[in-house]
């Protein structure tokens, strides 16, 4: 990493914390963003030349607060209101535990359940991730104008409807945290599978999601949801380099070159699974269990050496804590690997509610294919292909379909 990049990285990391503090002291996300942006620009201009100050966060905070005071003075039409606002902004930087709480407040405000999920995703990337509006728009495949409007509306709602800037009380925290985790996971999936579209993986969004998950672990090191989420993302992302070949074709788990999996990510993910399980020995957390399943795959030396008994029992655990048709489908796929395609197919066929899910049809097609029932398999491939898939995924199914002869 070059010196300039290191400064840019530091400024971005600290910028998020400074923004969080500024939102609290000014009571306005817009004002805080403008003031923080100003401090960030100044830092990026001067630090590479004169060196990084001893306390970069303190420098940024003080600079941003001064800017905020200027902005309030410039915009305020009422002297008494201005005096009140300015007096609340002490130029002294906050102690670390206050900054930590400020950042938590920002996390829970951006992911407030009264905001639409797509809005939470955008806000999290913009304010917590520190991406520009243009970058967020590009990542989520919408126009910059649409994104600007979405973010403006979101900030308006936060201000006008008085979405509180606080960490939820202990009794609400697990629920609210799972909302936050769902938003981060959605960002990861958006980058990982890219829904529809030509590229299978848009790297920046997966990296952003991992960064956000890491932030949640730093902020809430004892919360199993945070530990499990980061573990799950790291373990899934460890296979990124092998998921498509040079021609952009999907490579299935069975055929991936395991020597190219990211060992460091796997090691960290597996350790996080261990920590997460020790935190909740009696009732494991769903994210931790999903990560444990991903760990079974990550640790298997080859596809044939996969411990399907372990995979299936983790799915059994998952179904007791978070039953869903998709989890049942994945469990059925593992059963098919262990016990054979007809056992798997019987379970897949018995799952209700997945008719609109392309992978239910694709799994049926694959198992029918293996059972040498080309007519039924062809029909199932067609049904999967009629639904929403990324181009490499659809290409893969078409290849399998053509192999039916």
């Amino acid at each position: 990493m070059e010196a300039g990049d290191a400064v840019a990285q530091l400024v971005r990391e600290e910028g998020t914390r400074v923004l969080a503090t500024l939102v609290r002291v000014t009571g306005s996300i817009d004002l805080a963003e403008e003031a923080t942006q100003d401090a960030v620009v100044r830092a990026l201009e001067s630090w590479p030349r004169v060196g990084v100050p001893d306390n970069p966060r303190g420098w940024l905070t003080v600079t941003a607060k001064r800017r905020a005071i200027d902005l309030i003075r410039r915009e305020s039409r009422r002297p008494e209101k201005e005096a009140a606002a300015v007096s609340m902004i002490e130029p002294v930087p906050e102690p670390p535990e206050v900054v930590r709480d400020d950042l938590l407040r920002l996390v829970f405000t951006c992911c407030h359940p009264s905001l639409a999920t797509e809005t939470q995703v955008a806000l999290a990337l913009r304010t917590l991730g520190g991406l520009s509006t243009a970058e967020v728009a590009r990542g989520l495949l919408v126009s910059e104008a649409t994104m600007t409007k979405r973010l403006t509306r979101a900030k308006q709602k936060i201000a006008q409807a008085r979405i509180p800037y606080r960490v939820p009380p202990a009794d609400e925290l697990p629920d609210r945290l799972s909302g936050v985790a769902a938003t981060v996971y959605l960002i990861f999936n958006e980058g990982y599978a890219a829904g529809t579209g030509s590229e299978l993986a848009r790297v920046p969004l997966t990296a952003e999601a991992i960064r956000l998950a890491r932030l949640l672990v730093v902020l809430m090191p004892d919360e199993p949801t945070a530990l499990g989420l980061l573990a799950l993302l790291l373990l899934q992302d460890s296979r990124r380099a092998t998921r498509v070949d040079e021609a952009g074709r999907v490579v299935l788990l069975a055929d991936q070159d395991r020597s190219r999996w990211d060992e460091r990510a796997i090691k960290e993910g597996v350790e996080l699974v261990g920590t997460g399980l020790r935190r909740t020995p009696s009732r494991p957390n769903a994210y931790v269990v999903e990560a444990a399943i991903a760990a079974c795959h990550a640790l298997a030396p080859s596809y044939d050496a996969t411990d399907w008994d372990a995979v299936i029992s983790w799915y059994d655990v998952l179904l007791t804590i978070r039953d869903s048709p998709v989890a049942r489908l994945n469990r059925a796929a593992a059963i098919a690997e262990r016990d054979g395609p007809s056992e798997g197919l019987a379970i897949v066929d018995a799952i209700d509610g997945l008719a609109a899910y392309p992978w239910w049809h694709a799994t049926r097609a694959e198992l029918l294919h293996r059972l040498n029932q080309p007519e039924a398999a062809r029909d199932a491939y067609d049904r999967a292909l009629a639904l929403d898939l990324s181009r490499p995924q659809a290409d893969h199914l078409r290849r399998r379909l053509s192999e039916l002869g």
Binding site: S114, A116, R153, K157, Q160, A161, R162, I163
Partner: protein, 115 residues
């Protein structure tokens, strides 16, 4: 004497925006003229600030979603004016209104023209 609620429908705009100051004069004029019969009333922020609150039955899980109530199955059959610390308290209170258990409660912030 019987009481009536007059529900006002206009363009979905932010009435606290200074660009509507001129139009506000008409509303103020009406307020003065009808003083004798008006028992209360407020302007609301636009529907973009709305949160729709439902629960899975009495005391059930609270499901809040972004935006106004947009279905036609249920009809507007009443209203409460709530004074709460923030949106969280408003949502918690709304979730206890029986309408939230079987239908929905739309929570909208009221404009405070005094601030």
């Amino acid at each position: 004497m019987p009481k009536y609620v007059a529900l006002t429908y206009t363009a979905d705009v932010d009435w606290s925006d200074p660009q509507y100051a001129d139009q506000m004069k008409d509303w103020i004029e009406f307020g003065e003229a009808a003083k004798a019969v008006i028992r209360g009333g407020d302007a609301l922020y636009p529907t973009a600030t709305a949160t729709t609150v439902r629960t899975s039955g009495k005391g059930g899980e609270v499901i809040s979603s972004d935006g106004p109530y947009a279905e036609t199955k249920e009809a507007l059959t009443g209203f409460y004016l709530l004074e709460c610390a923030d949106l969280d308290e408003a949502i918690q209170t709304a979730a206890k209104i029986p309408a939230a258990w079987t239908g929905a409660v739309e929570v909208r912030p009221v404009i405070d023209f005094g601030s």
